[in-house]
Symmetry: C2
Subunit: 411 residues, 2 copies
């Protein structure tokens, strides 16, 4: 039916189109389908009892504040907790550097709102996080891409990309969504040097940094940048805006994340957030603070690492067993995803269509490439399905791949 | 300190400036100050026990879903509950017409995102809700204003404003923020006729419609529009987008509101919301549904009406007693605010400065006028302060006004 709104949509909505992949993924909402498509944490590790206790205590002791409007910056004790938590990862800031957002997606949206003029170029890894592209395209962003390999963004290609004058560099250094790849220490340092030389600041998105299952922790770009500047060990310099979230370490359903930025940026973000949603749920902030204080978070992160690490191992082993020769995949040291690469002549969307019929799903990789390409890639989540589902799902997917690659059935 | 971001802010941030009033209002955050400045519900009527029970039940019975990611449209049972709730006010829609947002402020922001091109004119009441101006100015909106009197938007002035070709009309028909004024039935009908004649759709913002303390309920514009179109009694036509919220009837701290719109608009809003915050807190949605189902909401709204109605009466009586001649104010039949009008030669910001020294605060009216004016007006909230605070605060404010108006002290 025609409505009076139909011809009134803003031009920017033309950049918000629903993707073919999204339509395809709607088909994965079947109870008996094993989905490696989402970026969902395992419900098994949600700290439900801790939530029950915290909700009750907060409502009894602090109900009037928890259910009332709050400040746009966020609940002060939670911002202070984030300051302490960050310090343990070498990020030394004050509460004036911290803004609470309604999930990291809102942080990306608000950064777009305060930074991006139509036509501005953003330098991104290729592939990169789809949600960032979705948020920034609405503000008219264009993208300059730098390819990735197993050590992350290929910094040899960075200098040329920087010459195009991007507004900022967007990087996911740890267990990147979608590839699972980690940016090496050497490349982090090279990134910081080149960003400095070309005067281009960095947005570091780090939702998974605390979920490492093997290998050595590598300091975040924001910490290395402070060292590079040399203005005091671990001092926050401001060239890097750092994003992280409670979604992967506590619960995504409470929509809580944070931005670390210079006060001048926080100030602009606060103005933008006032217009966007006034503030993030007071109740959820106070409950998250109640759960997280007193060391619970660190204990809980250890549990998550154990569970997800096992699932990653099970998935890698199942792939070794079931995937046909010619298919390759990354071996992430943490996070939620690994990345499959099919032979060049294959299209992962075609594979998905058949996979859904066999009741298994993943996300085709092409949409993660803002500059095109990646038709033969696939993002596979290992955190959400149970070990049994992972084995069964990868066996089914291996079967589909064998058929698609023309090998005899059942081999 | 100079940061690399300082010269990188988008042009639209120049329209997001922090206002002088906002700076002034920061001074009201003193424990012994009686504030009529906020738009805060009374903490006394927060249903804390209902929240405790609901949180516990939801976490025990449905914890894995409540703490997980959810759909952008919102929790289906909550959208269905809103459909049933709306039907009782004559709004007959289906869940496909409902989007859950992170507070009504987000609904305003998303509408701006999908509808407003830079330079588009929005037709607003003068004065109007500041949060809408804040949200839409960031998208480059301009405003066409229509003055208000005690019956709401002066529809005699509407036709000329419509000739300027606004993208849509924004109206708060019930107990408007900031004036407390209600749009009369005749004017609602006139508004609908004129909107139809000029082909301009309407956004109806109705956060307070259920909080009426006296007088007869007047059907929402969205319902009258359906009757005017004549396509079936109470059928939703789509010319009016309707906004409402849980903030005033349950809790603002949970940030839950809803949009009713044609599916084509909901579809665009969903795309915009995906980029803005993925979805609204699953936990809060399921808890709000758990509290609201089974008739609790209707009982609770009766309690709120009683408490706020009393406070309004106490404030009106105190104003009669303490405010000097020459000051006028509205007598709202519902909502949270009333509107004070000082003599033309007075400036309410000057009054506020002195009032803060005497530990009482309100919001000066000028920022609510996008076209300028209103320097002698003031928004006064009667829902948040206790009866004792209302009497004392209005006495203090009356004293300040008498002094400012040059009357002998203590008269």
């Amino acid at each position: 039916m025609q409505t009076p709104w139909d011809h009134r949509f803003a031009q920017r909505t033309q950049r918000m189109g629903s993707s073919a992949v999204r339509e395809l993924l709607k088909l994965t909402e079947q109870p008996d389908l094993i989905s490696f498509a989402g970026g969902l944490p395992a419900p098994d590790v949600f700290p439900i009892d801790a939530f029950r206790e915290a909700c009750d205590r907060v409502l009894v002791e602090n109900g009037a504040q928890a259910l009332q409007y709050g400040t746009t910056e966020g609940y002060k004790p939670l911002r202070e907790l984030i300051v302490r938590h960050s310090a343990r990862y070498g990020i030394n800031v004050t509460p004036e550097n911290v803004l609470i957002t309604s999930g990291s997606q809102q942080a990306l949206d608000l950064l777009g709102k305060i930074l991006i003029n139509p036509g501005d170029r953003i330098l991104v890894e290729s592939p990169t996080y789809l949600g960032a592209l979705q948020a920034w395209s609405a503000y008219g962003a264009e993208y300059v891409t730098v390819p990735m390999d197993e050590y992350g963004m290929v910094t040899e290609a960075l200098e040329e990309a920087l010459r195009s004058g991007p507004k900022f560099i967007y990087v996911l250094p740890n267990f990147q969504n979608p590839t699972g790849v980690t940016l090496s220490l050497e490349r982090r340092q090279r990134l910081i040097e080149l960003a400095d030389r070309y005067g281009v600041p960095i947005v570091e998105d780090d939702p998974y940094g605390q979920l490492r299952y093997e290998g050595e922790h590598i300091p975040p770009v924001v910490v290395l940048d402070g060292q590079y500047r040399g203005n005091g060990e671990g001092c926050y310099y401001g060239n890097v805006i750092y994003l992280s979230t409670f979604s992967k370490i506590l619960s995504p359903g409470i929509r809580l994340a944070w931005v670390i930025a210079p006060p001048v940026v926080i100030h602009k973000l606060v103005q933008a957030k006032q217009g966007a949603d006034l503030h993030t749920s007071t109740f959820n902030q106070i409950v998250a603070h109640e759960i997280s204080r007193g060391g619970f978070l660190d204990q809980h992160i250890k549990l998550i690492r154990k569970v997800y690490g096992e699932r990653r191992n099970i998935m890698l082993a199942a792939m070794d067993r079931y995937f046909p020769p010619g298919v390759e995949w990354t071996h992430p040291q943490g996070g939620l995803f690994l990345w499959g690469m099919l032979p060049e002549n294959m299209n992962s969307s075609d594979v998905l269509r058949v996979a859904i019929e066999r009741k298994v799903a993943f996300v085709p990789g092409a949409p993660f490439y803002p500059g095109g390409g990646g038709h033969n890639t696939m993002r596979i989540n290992f955190s959400n399905a149970t070990p049994e589902q992972i084995r069964e799902g990868i066996a089914r997917l291996g079967q589909v791949l064998r058929e698609k690659m023309g090998e005899p059935l059942g081999l």
